[in-house]
Amino acid sequence: MLLEFDAEQRLWQDTVHKAVLKECPPALIRRIADEGADPEPLWRVYADLGWTELTDPADAVELAIVLEELGRATDPTPYLATMTQFAPLAPDLAEPGRSGTAVYGGVTARAENGDWVLEGVGRHVLDGDRAEQLAVVTAGGVFVVPATAVSAVRSAVFDPVLHIADVLFDHVRVPARGRSAADPERARHQALTGLALTMVGACRRALDLVLDHVRTRHQFGAPIGSFQAVQHKAADMHVAVERARALGYFAALTIAEDDPRRRLASAMAKAAAGECQALVFRNAVQLFGAMGHTWENDLQFAIKRAKAGELLLGGAAEHRALIAEECRATDL
């Protein structure tokens, strides 16, 4: 196994990186957070760039590259939810450019006159307030419904750019063709991997900001980045990011090749991203010192996105429990 981008992937990464820098710069995130600017035009740009077409699992590595870059930029659009939560659950019903998300629990389905009826509340749904379509996982199967069929209330959350909502299904009728044949277990691997790579991107961004800070900030007559305690904390952050990133891309690779290790690999990706964000958040805020404590500092966006990722789709401890139960050394 060789976990390194080939030439084509390096080119793709470079293309995506430049596009994200241009289209989704820190100033845009700041306008969205502070002035409520609308991220919708940015979503259109992603569609025009063809990024919303990466729904084939075979493209999982290319998608992973986009997600990592968007994680660095604290993407304000419903791209993550659409590509890694909705599309894997509704591969035949997804349309490029239309946003979607997934509701993983809280909803029941019953058959009624050849249709299905959904009832319940999906809590903490990513982009649940703005996605145009919802894929709903129930004990009776996976159903796709338009946003117009449900009512959603956005929650106030600590990540000022993230959309989280509670979604109410009040006797939502779905025709039989709205039932998706997708395997929710497999879809979950894509969701976990996508979220993990988003977190890795956010952690890389936090590390970059910290490095800039400690290179320039002077105390006691020297740049603080020359003090061993600071250097070693930065090194630990780098190692944690490298570890999480490697496990994230490995998971993407197992999805692209439909390798049976994807169940374990996606759990490892999410767990490692979670461990990484804990260390990165802690060290980043500590090393930034008081200057990281202001609303005006962009560090907040990266660390909050990484921390929010940990709280979604199960934390590191939960995924480690799964890994321990399922893995023997020979599995890898």
Binding site: F158, A278, H293
Partner: protein
């Protein structure tokens, strides 16, 4: 070594508890929230003044300064009773705890009368102008300049992180009065009224919440400060700084123990991993109290072991930070919600005691950064407690 306090200490505790029982403002009375650490709603002024008058504000002080000449151990149980009930004795904590205390130690009689007592009686509020952009923990490199001009000083420069400055009446300000002296010399302390011409304040929000504006930038442009507002001798500001931080430090571990105790009370662990973290938290709380009590014993004997206090600071502040990191993660998606409450409302505190876990975690970094970062504390422990060589 003993598990209990002397009866006189317990009698003191009982007297204070009875005072609280009789006089604590009700939730209805404490309606208006304090919007910053420099802002006192009327009820909070009345509450602080009542404590001053009854000798319960700073019990270690003599009666004319809001106390009753209490011993260190009595002062400790006073704090214990407050923290157990999640009560703030003042909503201008730096004014009471640092600024008035500094003035009572280093100030002239007239300064005590004109500034310290009004701050203690909640007639004025005060903020601490210490940090500067580019200086941080390194007081020796401060650059705000005060030129002695005979009957006044002319102040130019900038402070930052000045908590509550936009609501405060006066700033205790560290300034450079001798630019040619070695770095930690040539620093002086001035009392600067916030309505002085040329002084402007810009409150700014913390990273947790755009509405939470306690921090300030303070700009001084040719601000004239009367010479009589000099605190302590000229160019001896370093001593005042050590003194005022010393004041802050001696019992500072108590507020960390309070924070840890609050987490213990508010966290409901489920599952073996969370219980494992919880046990560590409980042990940390108990160990901090024990180590703090040893420091207390030393202080009661009149011994000061300042470097040993670094052990309490680094241990206490990191213990609650570690715990809050875990508790936030244990909250799962509910932990996203912000603002949120994670404890019953306690009306006699700022809201951060019952804010969301994210908020509580994010705020915990104040304690590992302000007053000397954990990195600086570890160096102090290594060099001054363990006797390792300096670089």
């Amino acid at each position: 070594m003993r598990l209990t306090f002397d009866t006189d200490v317990e009698a003191f505790r009982a007297e204070f508890a009875a005072f609280l029982e009789a006089h604590l403002p009700t939730e209805a009375e404490a309606g208006e929230r304090s919007r910053s650490t420099g802002h006192l709603p009327d009820w909070a002024r009345r509450w602080q003044r009542l404590q001053f008058d009854e000798g319960w504000l700073l019990p270690g002080n003599p009666p004319q300064y809001g106390g009753r000449n209490a011993t260190v151990v009595q002062q400790y149980v006073h704090m214990e009773e407050l923290s157990r009930r999640r009560i703030f004795h003042s909503f201008n904590p730096q004014g009471v705890g640092i600024i008035a205390a500094s003035l009572l130690t280093f100030g002239a009689e007239e300064q005590k009368r004109r500034w310290a007592v009004p701050v203690l009686r909640a007639e004025l509020t005060a903020a601490l102008g210490m940090s500067e952009p580019g200086a941080g923990s390194d007081l020796a490199s401060l650059r705000t300049r005060a030129e002695p001009m005979g009957d006044h000083f002319l102040v130019n420069g900038q402070k930052v992180w000045t908590s509550g400055a936009h609501d405060a009446d006066v700033l205790l300000t560290f300034v450079r009065t001798d630019p040619d002296a070695p770095k930690h010399k040539g620093i002086s302390v001035l009392l600067i009224p916030t309505d002085s011409p040329g002084l402007t304040r810009r409150p700014f929000a913390s990273y947790t919440n755009p509405e939470d504006k306690d921090f300030n930038e303070v700009f001084f442009e040719d601000v004239r400060v009367p010479a009589e507002n000099l605190v302590g001798p000229l160019n001896e500001g370093w001593r005042v700084a050590s003194g005022s931080l010393g004041h802050e430090r001696t019992l500072m571990w108590v507020s960390e123990a309070e924070r840890l105790g609050d987490i213990v009370r508010d966290f409901r662990p489920t599952g073996p991993l969370e219980k494992d973290w919880y046990a560590t938290l409980v042990m940390d709380l108990q160990a901090l109290r024990l180590l703090g009590s040893a420091a207390l014993s030393r202080a009661a004997r009149g011994e000061q072991d300042v470097p040993a206090l670094s052990v309490l600071k680094v241990f206490g502040s990191e213990a609650s930070q570690r715990a809050l990191e875990k508790v936030l993660e244990a909250a799962g998606p509910d932990g996203l919600i912000h603002p949120a409450t994670t404890a019953p409302a306690y009306h006699m505190t700022y809201d951060d005691n019952f804010a969301g876990w994210f908020h509580r975690y994010a705020r915990s970094f104040g304690a590992t950064i302000a007053g000397g970062t954990s990195e600086i504390q570890r160096t102090i422990i290594a060099e001054r407690v363990l006797g390792l060589p300096r670089r």
